[in-house]
């Protein structure tokens, strides 16, 4: 019963609402301080901007994942969709600069469409999104391989500006990610459907009783997730100069970590994209620190796992039943 859910009334409201983001910022602070003590090049603007640049791909995909998790679901098809997007981008452009804009637009639309398809299946088949997106992920990977069994096509030189370009030393890609994050945050705050995303994630049963249109809400979140995946695919094509059919594989599970670190509850209903962006930045910053400390690449994974454990020990999740 709702009556059973207690809350510590003593904590100020704003702190409770944004506890997750506060947590991530604290962790960023910890890593920064550690970094500063290891090397005086760590906290330089140049280094931090580099870290921002390296965060771009993870940030892009995690923003979309945040939405699906906020609504109480998850998107396990992101990896395959990213691969598909990157292959289609470089394959269709194939070095022709005139094609860049139409292909990019088409890819973004395709990504959104796949997201809408995911949402449609979840509603029509009444299946848990974990399963639907898992299956869709397999299907998309198959489709990607139908299109290309290996690296395909290439992007024109100018396109890699997206990944490596800088305007007044600020990385273009990272800026676009921040802009996307801002847009999504506004969407969540000012669109009625955006507010309903939180409601659906908080209590799906109440949402139904109140008459919220679950289908529409899911289309919004999965459509956005698809869009973000397509954007990530575009970015990766720009970064590597060519799209590859397995390029997205690791992003599926990796996209969840920044969301959790940023204070969004895996069960939904609380959190936001700003926290996720900070979470993605934290991960890159941590890797950067480990590089400075000359830690072998192999230990970076261990460090990542440990920091997640630390994070969840600080802000404990609310689970389904108490």
């Amino acid at each position: 019963m709702i009556a059973a859910i207690a809350s510590r009334a003593a904590t100020p409201l704003w702190l409770r609402h944004n506890a997750g983001v506060a947590g991530v910022i604290v962790l960023i602070g910890v890593v920064s301080v550690t970094g500063a003590s290891v090397s005086d090049r760590f906290l330089t603007l140049a280094n931090l901007l580099n870290v921002c640049e390296q965060t771009t791909d993870l940030a892009l995909v995690s923003i979309g994942q945040t939405l699906t998790i906020l609504a109480g679901g998850i998107d396990l098809s992101v990896g395959s969709l990213i691969s598909l997007a990157s292959c289609l981008t470089s394959g269709l452009i194939n070095g022709n600069p005139d094609r860049v804009v139409p292909v990019a637009t088409a890819v973004l639309l395709l990504g959104s469409f796949v997201g809408l398809l995911n949402a449609g299946l979840v509603v029509a088949l009444r299946v848990h999104p974990l399963i639907v997106t898992l299956g869709m992920g397999a299907i998309l990977q198959g489709v990607t391989l139908l299109y290309a069994l290996g690296p395909v096509g290439r992007v024109p030189r100018g396109f890699s500006f997206l990944a490596y370009g800088r305007i007044a030393d600020v990385p273009v890609g990272a800026t676009l990610a921040v802009v996307l994050c801002g847009l999504v945050a506004l969407l969540l705050r000012y669109l009625p459907l955006g507010r309903q995303v939180y409601a659906l994630g908080d209590d799906a049963n109440s949402a139904r009783l109140v008459g919220l249109r679950r289908g529409r809400i899911l289309m919004l979140v999965y459509g956005c997730s698809g869009f973000c995946c397509a954007a990530t695919g575009l970015y990766l094509a720009a970064r590597f100069g060519v799209g590859q059919p397995y390029t997205g594989v690791n992003y599926t599970l990796a996209s969840i970590t920044p969301v959790v670190l940023g204070g969004t509850l895996l069960s939904g209903g609380r959190g936001g994209v700003v926290g996720t962006l900070c979470g993605a930045f934290l991960i890159s910053l941590l890797n950067n620190l480990l590089n400075f400390m000359d830690v072998s690449k192999h230990y970076q994974l261990v460090a990542q796992a440990l920091i997640i454990i630390l994070a969840v020990s600080i802000y404990v999740e609310r689970r389904g039943m108490e």
């Binding site: 409201l13 009625p192 939180y198 049963n205 949402a207 009783l209 008459g211 919220l212 209903g269």
Partner: protein, 496 residues
């Protein structure tokens, strides 16, 4: 305002409603009474647009009403507040009030300022003052109910249906609720008030309708009927003897359980009580007084912050449910579905639940022994089912409660704690459970009954303990207890 003519509805194998005629006038508070299974829920769902009737007509506000969905009914002005609130604990009060119906600015975006302002106004209309930015999950149940009603008001409600609203609030909060409902009545809003509690119907409603077995028994002005006639209309028989007789002889009793100034969490501050074998003690108090937490603490499900519990001579500063069970203590919880039953399993598994070791041989569960035990209990308590393998999820509330009581009655030697044991079950099952309690007491078990129904307290208790804000404020002997006396101690008494 609302008229129903000849409404009938059937489900496979069950005729839920048959030819019901019923009307609600504008600006009246109308009570709906009936046992469980009488058809109240079905009727409500039809009025609210969640179900379509098989036969019959409905008119609302002088226009024919054939709702295709609850949304249509809402748009027309019919709004239901169900027992399980449809609220979102992590969103603010203001957002909850306007969810699905958001306040927008000129370009269609959500206007948060307006949302907060209008939510505040709606609550003020009800006479409530709340921080509209507070998270709903942090509010008291009574306040949450107000948020639900405020939400109804955003839809320009003309008929507000409240389904057992007083099941989760008591005393002063009930009085406040009634005040606010009367305010709405002044404004011309009609209220359909469903309740089990006759006293409330008399206190609040202008007219009352009684349903029995899917048929309309009658609609009367409340001033024209008496309690007894209402009961006989609901049940169809004279239930003078709802409560079993109290034993005459009061011989010296042995102490079964004693607590020494225990504190549990935030709700139980300082409680010292004594339960004696063969005695039925009622624990009265308002919602939030800490009674349920006390029950959980006595059973070992919540840790003791301080103090000690003495059971059968042994002293404990910490307990676990397994230990409590070994000591012969049982607990029938408030919430059947999530705490009382293993919903996915059958009767046999639910009856042997805490005593699984009894039917285990060499680590394996012996299903035959288990079934035999279950069959015996089914017969003893007249549980309506298809046998020990019946899944409990398919049973009615009253029968489910009998399974739970049977489970504990079997293994309880010392103390049985029951938390609101007859909430939400029909009169017939209630009488059975009272009978079981008296039998157990006669066999030497100490019974602690937590209840908010005064009639139960007065009808069953040998002794009454009243709790308020985590402390004991008074103790009365059964024959001394009156409703006023108990309420006084529950709301303003000093610690004993």
């Amino acid at each position: 305002m609302l008229t129903l003519k000849g409404i009938s509805k059937s489900f496979p194998g069950v005729r839920a409603l048959a030819g019901v005629n019923f009307d609600v006038r504008p600006g009246e508070i109308h009570g709906l009474l009936g046992e469980n299974g009488a058809g109240k829920s079905t009727l409500i769902k039809i009025i609210a647009g969640a179900l379509a009737p098989d036969e019959g007509e409905m008119t609302f506000a002088d226009a024919p009403a054939r709702w295709a969905s609850p949304r249509e009914a809402k748009l027309a002005g019919v709004h239901v507040v169900y027992q399980e609130f449809a609220l979102f604990p992590q969103l603010s009060v203001a957002e909850n009030v306007f969810l699905g119906n958001e306040r927008r600015n000129r370009i269609g975006l959500v206007d948060h300022k307006r949302t907060r302002k209008e939510a505040g106004e709606l609550l003020a209309r009800l006479g409530v003052s709340l921080d509209v930015s507070a998270m709903v999950g942090s509010l008291s149940v009574a306040d949450q109910q107000m948020v639900e009603i405020a939400r109804a008001l955003t839809h320009n409600v003309r008929l507000l249906i409240l389904d057992e609203p007083t099941a989760v609030i008591a005393g002063r909060e009930v009085a406040l609720l009634f005040d606010r409902l009367r305010r709405l009545r002044e404004e011309g809003v009609s209220v359909l008030f469903i309740s089990h509690r006759l006293d409330e119907v008399f206190a609040l409603c202008d007219r009352v309708t009684i349903l029995k077995d899917g048929r309309l028994v009658g609609t009367h002005e409340t001033r024209d009927v008496t309690r007894a006639s209402l009961i006989s209309m609901m049940v169809g028989r004279d239930l003078g003897e709802l409560f079993p007789p109290r034993p005459k002889a009061v011989r010296a009793r042995q102490t079964a359980l004693r607590t020494e100034q225990i504190a549990i969490g935030e709700r139980v501050r300082d409680v010292s009580i004594e339960l004696c074998a063969g005695e039925i003690v009622a624990l009265a108090g308002m919602v939030g007084s800490g009674r349920s937490d006390l029950a959980l603490g006595l059973f070992g499900a919540l840790p003791l912050a301080s103090g000690a519990i003495d059971i059968g001579g042994e002293r404990f500063t910490a307990m676990s449910p397994a230990q409590a069970i070994r000591l012969g203590v049982g607990l029938v919880t408030e919430d059947r579905k999530s705490q009382g039953l293993a919903l996915l399993l059958d009767i046999a598994a639910n009856i042997t639940g805490p005593a699984l070791a009894e039917v285990t041989r060499h680590g394996l569960v012996n299903r035959e022994i288990e079934a035999a035990i279950a069959t015996r209990e089914i017969e003893r308590y007249r549980i309506a089912c298809r046998g020990p393998a019946t899944p409990v999820a398919t049973m009615s509330g009253g029968n489910q409660q009998k399974v739970i009581v049977a489970r504990w009655a079997r293994i309880c030697r010392t103390v049985l704690i029951l938390d609101e044991p007859t909430r939400g079950i029909d009169v017939g099952a209630k009488a059975e459970i009272y009978r079981i309690m008296r039998e157990l007491a006669a066999a030497g078990v100490a019974i602690l009954m937590i209840t908010s129904e005064m009639t139960e307290v007065i009808g069953m208790a040998d002794r009454v303990i009243i709790m308020r804000e985590g402390r004991i404020t008074g103790e009365l002997l059964g024959h001394e207890a009156t409703e006023e006396g108990i309420m006084h101690l529950a709301t303003s008494g000093r610690a004993a």
